[in-house]
């Protein structure tokens, strides 16, 4: 009966305008609508599928500001059992190393974790590194970019899908898995699920609760620093013509003019 932790992240909705704050170049979270990252719905779905087949428990873990509770509730309403929310002003501007350290510490509070499931890549930063970094810190094998996950006792098999094609992976639990876009179709929360989620336990923690010194995290202590940030001037629209039977020829002419053919 695997004990599963699913990592979820709240991200700015890509349909809304995403900006950096002028003062410290961190993500301007107020300017954009925030949603549970789509890939994390797939991570939750995979955890629930494993639980439905084999039993066990699903804990949602999120490191993010207070309003990330909406994303956590969504994961709970899909069917996860409980949640840990690490929310601390001190984490403002945290770098990837710090975020990994905090995630690892929070996972350490869950007894006997067998499986950590994350998304393969968040839509805000496109880091695609946290699951591997976490595996490094925890000393667990990484089975990332999964399009298929099979668990048999303490053995895990994953089909990994990347640009290079498919790879078949094997390791033993405990392990870190990250899921790709094609792994499953996440369920919609049912009305019953939404009502039940309101009563599910959410443990809210500060970094101090995790035994981490608040001064060792956040923008001032980050391992990377932004030196400058500037919005790029938007691309201007060029020429637009109506096809009058010569559309293809007109493009060819344009491409010749640009020395592209």
């Amino acid at each position: 009966m695997p004990n599963i932790v699913v990592l979820v992240k709240q991200v700015p909705d890509t349909y809304s305008e995403r900006k950096l704050s002028d003062s410290d170049h961190t993500l301007d979270r107020e300017s954009a609508d925030a949603v549970l990252d789509e890939i994390n719905e797939r991570a939750v779905e995979e955890a629930l599928l494993i639980k439905e087949a084999q039993g066990g428990e699903v804990t949602v873990l999120c490191v993010g500001p207070d309003r990330a509770t909406e994303a956590i509730r969504k994961a709970l309403s899909m069917g996860a059992d409980k949640a840990i929310h690490v929310s601390d002003e001190a984490l403002h501007g945290a770098c990837l190393l710090q975020t990994t350290k905090v995630l690892a510490a929070a996972i350490g509070r869950v007894d006997g974790v067998d499986l950590v499931i994350a998304g393969n890549e968040a839509t805000d930063g496109r880091g695609g590194a946290i699951p591997a970094m976490l595996a490094e810190v925890l000393g667990f094998p990484q089975l990332t970019h999964a399009r298929k996950v099979e668990i048999d006792g303490s053995a895990i098999k994953v089909t990994r899908e990347t640009d290079a094609g498919l790879q078949h992976l094997e390791a033993s639990l405990p392990a870190v898995v990250s899921v790709g876009e094609k792994i499953n179709e996440p369920r919609y929360p049912s009305f019953k699920g939404i009502m039940a989620a309101k009563k599910k336990p959410v443990e809210t923690l500060t970094v101090a609760d995790l035994g981490i010194d608040a001064g060792s995290v956040g923008l001032a202590a980050a391992s990377t620093a932004v030196l400058e940030a500037a919005p790029k001037p938007p691309r201007a629209a060029g020429t637009r013509v109506q096809d009058e039977g010569d559309g293809g020829a007109k493009i060819a002419e344009f491409l010749v003019g640009q020395k592209l053919i």
Partner: protein
């Protein structure tokens, strides 16, 4: 001059273009040292190519373990080299695997990780990564404040320029894998590339969207691509509808491409699609809806039916090639 480590991306001894881009970028920071972590016999095949792009040194770490275990052998070798050589920076391709290697290396060496760079610069003693974020809407410059800067560089971000390098070889050991922490690779099914260039490496990309209407009709896109020597891409709607395989998806959750020329056929230009292609040098769009947002960023747009316009363009291109 300090060394700058470049992790070599290669398949069966064929060096990927991104490696040449990274070696070019490394020359602006210090002395480029290519790191080959691969199956035995690989270095001999890749050495000349690396020398041709200015590799002063080639660290050769060969072992059968490299193909048997996922990611960690490469991390082990790079971590040992970082400790032994104190390089000015480590440059790694921002591919799925490269991002993971870089992340683990940053943890292992307690170093700042700079992701998805489209350029690297030297500023005094600092290595500065130039990044385009939110699909290129912002340009950001950042640096590492601790350890050795570990930078993932996006394929196509830097233009590769040939240069002579001595490519002096030095053998490096691949540490034995720790079975409890490692992931075994028990089989692979590489993508059969065919004759078309790879999506992220191509200088021309022709993409089709939901407007193409079916898998069969995607040959309109493929024919134009082949006339131009281009790679084929697809929108997520086209992928989700089963018109084209997922590995060709362009956009926020697909590939980021930045070719000389991007041609969008029957693609509306949703923000998530644009995030993956709006840094293309020249954009051409064909869409029957004059209001389609793709026209807002197209250098040349044709309002019309792609099934009329694209075949005509294919013919014109073929004619000119004569």
């Amino acid at each position: 001059m300090s060394e700058v480590l470049v992790l070599v991306d290669q398949v069966d001894g064929e060096v990927k273009k991104v490696t040449f881009e990274l070696l070019t970028a490394a020359r602006g920071l210090g002395e480029p040292a290519a790191v080959v972590v691969a199956a035995p016999g690989t270095a001999g095949k890749v050495k000349d190519a690396l020398a041709g792009y200015g590799a002063a040194k080639v660290y050769v770490a060969e072992s059968a373990d490299v193909d048997t275990y996922l990611v960690t052998p490469k991390v082990d070798v790079l971590a040992a080299l970082v400790a032994a050589k104190s390089p000015a920076a480590v440059l790694i391709p921002a591919t799925a695997e490269g991002k993971e290697i870089a992340g683990r290396l940053a943890v292992r060496t307690d170093s700042g990780l700079l992701i998805e760079a489209v350029g690297v610069e030297k500023s005094g003693d600092d290595v500065v990564a130039v990044q385009g974020i939110f699909g290129g809407a912002f340009t950001v410059k950042s640096k590492s404040t601790q350890g050795t800067p570990i930078v993932t560089v996006r394929p196509g971000g830097v233009e590769a320029e040939a240069a002579d390098g001595a490519a002096a070889e030095e053998t490096v050991e691949v540490p034995a894998a720790d079975a409890a922490k490692a992931t075994r690779v028990t089989g692979t099914e590489p993508i059969i590339g065919g004759d078309r260039p790879e999506l992220t490496e191509a200088s021309v990309v022709v993409s089709g969207g939901r407007g193409v209407g079916s898998a069969e009709k995607f040959d309109v896109v493929e024919k134009l691509a082949d006339a131009l020597g281009a790679a084929v891409g697809a929108s997520r709607a086209a992928v989700d509808s089963g018109y084209y395989p997922a590995q060709f998806q362009v956009g926020q959750t697909g590939k980021t491409v930045s070719p000389q020329l991007y041609i969008a056929l029957g693609i509306s230009g949703a923000i998530q699609h644009r995030a993956g292609m709006q840094t293309s040098k020249t954009i051409v769009a064909v869409n029957k809806d004059a209001e389609a947002p793709i026209f807002e960023i197209a250098d040349f747009g044709v309002v019309g039916d792609l099934f009329a316009v694209a075949p005509q363009l294919t013919e014109e291109v073929t004619k000119r090639k004569g």
